[in-house]
Symmetry: C2
DNA sequence: CTGTTAGCGCGTTCAC
DNA sequence: GTGAACGCGCTAACAG
């Protein structure tokens, strides 16, 4: 121990890892790192992994020519002791590997036996619709997420079943395609503005789209919520600071990362490649972007 | 090669890395991973590191009890071939190590010989002030970043020198303390509302603060820009979608990450631990949050 | 140009 | 309880 202090010896982790057959770091596979939506999730991951002695390796599948190959590379190279997947667009075949590396799905993904952390997306969408209906809205529009995304699907289903349960019809020209981003919210707004018969409320499947939508109609001189009500999904930090403050479905993003990390560490420690999936509840945050249409 | 295909052999990177004395990954030291400001920077980093064959390791100094020790750990463990530091609050002593691992500073940091990538912060602040003055504003308030931060300092200096060059005085009660976050923008707004003699314009050292400020005064029934003009700094994605769209200083965040990555790779390839620093220019984005006070 | 060998720095085991 | 030796899987250097 004196020699350690004198020579300034530090253990070589490459050698230790080689010997112990582990890397001490876990990989997060993110569909688009530039999307600020992931920053809090990654912070949650890091907050659990770091005290547990794991490093956080991040790969952006968006910029990668072949995400599936990339995943296979990490699974077999021994560079990661576990993987958290946030990208719902990876082919199923990429997940059916027998590498022995634990995987946790942190995006909504139904048809895989892998453990997952997900948010009650369908229920959140239903809550939003029921809130609008309770406020007297019957003409409700909807902006979707990107096609093929599992979040898009489950939120759409939740919205749809709530609508039909309430006896409300969803018109095709009141459905706006989207990709969860700000810009497509703005273009949905332009389509809304061009409509002869406009819905009195639009439920956007993400806060960013809701924000883009609100901004664009406001730039056109339309008042929110007097002329159109808007509900978002996510409760990103900026939502409460918009004018009007955005009514939305709160999704605890830090928690998603933390839970995923805990499940993964549990799998690594026990050596079993399965675990209980978790569903994180959502919550309606009532603010000022929805008009009360009920007569007094 | 046939045997490779038959047995499904994949090279073990731990063993390779041990032998080659490199890890194949780069560490990014981020002050607060939850801050969406970094997402685009990290995406830029990833976009050049990934094709170059490097993995991206991320450590959040915010959640770490001892960031300096953490840095030392990574520098000496051999787990990273290079480090990009975004945290300007690390003690100088932590950087003066002779580990042989290249370091690039990607936050503004003046008194270190390490190569850095920085943005023309002082100039950006000066541009904002000159724009407000050109629009006829003479009573200008300012919201700062967190104390001790190098960005805070250089933006403050740029603002101050532009003010005095224009013969404008900066009143103490028109300076609002901040931390670059949304919430403190809102509290600055409450202080502005309580002022007997209010500035006609407020320049916020970050877009998030500007957004929080605008939202809060608008919630109080104040019109932007009719009753108060606001200028931000950063040009975050949401700024153009606010109502009114926020006039701000554009800072290319993806580029910061890309440049830092390029410099670092150059240092690794050549083996020299020094490199030219780079300054990235900024640009005024004129939108609708500044009123024209000049008489027609 | 192909085949063999030494050793990267550690953790584990086996002998004392 | 302390110490020596082996091997994790690869790459680089060297011999044939």
């Amino acid at each position: 121990m004196e020699a350690v202090a004198q020579t300034g010896y530090r253990i070589n982790h490459m050698a230790r890892n080689l010997r112990r057959q582990r890397s001490g770091s876990i990989l997060a596979l993110v569909p688009n790192l530039a999307n600020p939506f992931f920053s809090q999730i990654l912070a949650g991951l890091s907050a659990v992994l770091s005290p547990a002695g794991y490093g956080l390796l991040i790969a952006d599948t968006h910029t990668d020519p072949n995400p599936a190959e990339r995943l296979a590379y990490y699974l077999h190279s021994g560079l990661a002791d576990g993987v958290v997947i946030f990208d719902g667009t990876l082919p199923k075949s990429a997940l059916q590997t027998r590498s022995g590396v634990p995987i946790v799905m942190a995006c909504e993904w139904t048809d895989t036996p892998l453990p997952s952390v997900r948010v009650a997306n369908a229920e959140g969408a239903a809550i939003a619709i029921r809130h609008l209906a309770a406020m007297g809205h019957r003409k409700i529009g909807y902006q979707t997420g990107p096609r093929g995304n599992v979040l898009t699907l489950s939120r759409f289903e939740g919205m749809q079943s709530a609508m039909s349960a309430l006896g409300l019809q969803l018109r095709d020209d009141w459905i706006f395609d989207g990709d969860f981003g700000l810009a497509c919210g703005a273009s949905a707004a332009r389509r809304w503005l061009a409509l002869a018969d406009r819905p009195t409320a639009v439920f956007c499947a993400s806060d960013e789209m809701a924000c883009g939508f609100m901004g664009e109609v406001q730039h056109a001189g339309i008042s929110v919520p007097d002329e159109v009500s808007v509900v978002g999904f996510d409760n990103i930090e900026v939502s409460r600071h918009l004018a009007p403050a955005l009514t939305t479905i709160h999704q605890p993003r830090g928690l998603i990362g933390e839970r995923a990390a805990r499940i993964l560490i549990g799998m690594i420690d026990t050596g079993v490649l399965t675990a209980e999936s978790e569903v994180i509840p959502v919550e309606l945050i009532r603010r000022n972007s929805v008009a009360d249409l009920r007569m007094a």
